[in-house]
Homo-oligomer: 217 residues x 2
């Protein structure tokens, strides 16, 4: 190995070490259970004309909330009841499940970032006043970190970039490809699903460590 | 940073790179769904005196097999049916579930290596001829790699050591603390549970890459 390669390895290692060892660079992690975002149109099909969701709990991202209301989702192999609706209403209906859930449903949702539902899996949604056969909209959500532009500057990352997030405990795990999402509306928070949480024995409130993604894009 | 620190970093990085880049050092991965090992005494309580398990399928480790028979397991919050029994009979009854399963059961099994059931979670097992309230024996199995002494020499690892196993795909993941188990009876195979599999979109047959564990023991 020549001197240049050695130097680049050392610089990379040192840069990661310095990011990881700065205590204020921890990323709070929130575990997302299966849930559903509804369009205004689909909300009214499921719950009736003019229906408004009732707040149950504010979520970490400003303005977002868990509603009192739930729906059932169904696939060719089975159904899951009590799937929480998150508000407010969005342009597109989207259902986010874990891989474990998808096996129970007998469906094959792709791994996608939130909002990217084109060509994703169909799913049936059942509400108290009606049901919908969604042609696409069922996804497994890609792990991601919400952050403000100030946080992005602090972590030296930008919107759309992939980073690695390490969680240390008795079942330590490293998520190799975590999407950075930057917006002035966002509060620092990493979202993982229940499979990722259970594989790493991670509960909401755990902190991860960010380092630069080194693999193929 | 002094020259010595730089040198040790470079040596560590180069050693890991050389392990990871050797193609024959891939580790085949098998996904273990929830299952149950029974003692001869407990087998007879559940299935009747003198009962013998029927072979359904040979497993990757020589002599081990999935039986035709299944049991139900129950906790304070719920039950799970069709839990596969693995044979042959062992000295101690042990039930291995995922964290996801444990939430459904309402039980709190510890993360353990197989066989280490002392002080683990209680669980009820129901068979066609009887049931057992096990005072301990329910665990979440720690990810591990079975290998022969020849494989251990090839990977430069020893029994009881922890290594890191990386899996690369669209949901790349790195298991930071994977136990090495060496025996002349073992065939090279990494065992992970369904939570770990689903968190990394890993199916049986996927290959992982081994590198040295760098964290605290």
């Amino acid at each position: 190995m020549n001197q240049k390669v050695i130097q680049s390895i050392v610089e990379e290692v040192v840069s990661q070490f310095s990011i990881q060892s700065t205590p204020e660079k921890g990323i709070p992690i929130a575990v997302s259970a299966r849930h559903c975002h509804l369009s205004r149109h689909d909300l009214e099909t499921l719950f009736g004309k003019g229906y408004e969701l009732a707040h149950k709990k504010a979520l970490s991202q400003p303005g977002q909330f868990a509603a009192q209301e739930t729906v059932s989702i169904v696939g060719p192999r089975g159904g899951i009841e009590n799937v929480r609706i998150l508000g407010p209403a969005r342009n597109l209906t989207q259902v986010e499940v874990s891989k474990t859930d998808s096996i129970k449903l007998g469906l094959h949702p792709p791994l996608r970032k939130s909002g990217d539902v084109k060509g994703s899996s169909p799913v049936t949604i059942i509400g108290p006043q009606g049901s919908i056969y969604l042609l696409e909209g069922l996804i497994i959500a890609q792990a991601h970190v919400h952050m403000s532009p100030a946080d992005a500057a602090r972590f030296q990352v930008s919107d759309g970039e992939y980073v690695r997030i390490a969680v240390e405990n008795e079942r330590s795990i490293l998520f190799e490809k975590v999407l950075i999402r930057v917006s002035p509306d966002y509060k620092l928070d990493m979202h993982i699903d229940t499979d990722e949480a259970n594989a790493g024995l991670i509960a909401t409130g755990t902190t991860g460590k960010l380092s630069k993604y080194a693999g193929p894009s």
